[in-house]
């Protein structure tokens, strides 16, 4: 009997100490891990879209509730003016969802550019929507509220050759992104202002 109690106590105490230690480490590293994930998953697209901004958009970020989902927004400061935000939407690609990062100038309400963050498209074909910056760059200067379509569908966007479905998915994502912008515009402008120096 004594042995059993001793086993239970030793194991219980060890499990408790381990649990306490791990929750400490977890909460201590949570912020840093979130930043690292942003940096390596979404960072390249954000950097490309908000090129030339004087702040770090991965630090200057805020979250807004859009219905049931929470969306992250990344602020770009140009000439001391926080007038650009980047945020992520998604479209349906050839082999799964495509994460689409898009940047909007909140003063002119025009797109700054579009970049693909996560995708499972065919390497060498659909993946060029991510790797070829000229595809995302052509969205620059267009109005946010426009519905986007690729040329074969009667739109203005040049599809990546050999990857019409992927390009269509990106257009879908950007069009949806325009709707998100229309819904959240007052909050976005309000929140972005706070990052002005």
């Amino acid at each position: 009997m004594r042995d059993i109690i001793r086993m239970v106590v030793v194991l219980g105490v060890m499990a408790a100490v381990s649990g306490a230690l791990l929750s400490g480490v977890k909460s201590g590293t949570a912020a840093q891990i979130e930043y690292q994930q942003l940096k390596f998953v979404k960072g390249p697209a954000i950097k490309m879209i908000l090129e030339g901004c004087s702040n770090d958009p991965l630090v200057d970020r805020f979250k807004l509730k859009d219905g049931d989902v929470e969306r992250g927004f990344y602020v770009g400061v140009f000439d001391g003016n926080p007038n650009a935000v980047a945020y992520e939407t998604s479209g349906k690609g050839f082999a799964g969802p495509i994460g689409v990062m898009m940047g909007v100038n909140v003063e002119t309400e025009k797109l700054l550019g579009v970049g693909v963050t996560t995708h499972s498209e065919t390497p060498g074909l659909g993946s060029r929507a991510k790797d070829d910056p000229s595809f995302g760059a052509q969205f620059g200067g267009m109005s946010v509220f426009e519905p986007f379509k690729v040329k074969p569908d009667g739109g203005v966007v040049d599809a990546v050759s050999g990857a019409t479905i992927t390009s269509r998915g990106v257009c879908e994502g950007v069009t949806e992104g325009g709707e998100i912008y229309a819904r959240l515009k007052p909050q976005i402008i309000e929140q972005a202002k706070a990052f002005g120096k």
Partner: protein, 202 residues
């Protein structure tokens, strides 16, 4: 067992170098040695876990009832593995992406449980640390060595651990022998190294 601290450390470097002499812990040895950076990263993570778990197991060796010693060892090891996993995500995220599932799998690495059972649970803390450090460094050297051979022939490069630098060994005209960085290449390479180790030992 009248070995000195130095002997406890150095035995892990040659006499008992884990993958080549004990032929233990082969899962990460075969899987993550595609590049030197990955191999050494894995070795350092395992060394940290090994030293910490050896120290704790040795300190608690008179408290832990022998009937439940394995669950106790696993709690200790698993705790340090999760610490390593979280810290690696926070400071070396690309390495974490590369090593992926093999970091959590350090928990069931038989080198670590083996050292806890065979050494740390019977010896005082200081020799246990020396033992853990020696075996860990030996494991890291073994991973780095095997990865060096595979990466040099398989990709024509050597990647420096903990930096983004990659050295081109044979110039641009080198046609990579990609068999070496694929799974069968790992077995062939390991087999050749084991054979050489046996030859050298005779």
């Amino acid at each position: 067992m009248a070995k000195t601290i130095v002997q406890e450390f150095t035995k892990g470097l040659w006499d008992e170098i884990p993958p080549f002499r004990l032929v233990l812990g082969l899962c990460p040895v075969l899987a993550v040695t595609k590049t030197v950076a990955n191999g050494v990263g894995m070795g350092v993570a395992a060394t940290f876990v090994l030293v910490c778990s050896n120290l704790l197991v040795s300190m608690l060796r008179n408290v832990i009832p022998s009937q439940v010693r394995v669950p106790c060892f696993i709690i200790i090891i698993a705790t340090f593995v999760v610490v390593v996993e979280l810290v690696m995500q926070a400071v070396a995220y690309p390495l974490f992406l590369q090593l992926g599932i093999f970091i959590p799998l350090i928990v069931v690495n038989c080198i670590i449980l083996g050292r806890a059972e065979a050494f740390a649970s019977k010896n005082p803390p200081v020799p246990s640390i020396a033992d853990g450090l020696g075996i860990g460094v030996g494991f890291t050297i073994a991973l780095g060595f095997l990865a060096g051979i595979r990466e040099a022939f398989g990709a024509g490069t050597i990647s420096i651990p903990f930096s983004d630098t990659v050295i081109q060994l044979f110039g641009a005209s080198y046609e990579p022998f990609t068999f070496m960085v694929e799974a069968p290449g790992a077995f062939v390479c390991l087999g050749l190294v084991l054979a050489l180790m046996n030859l050298a030992g005779e």
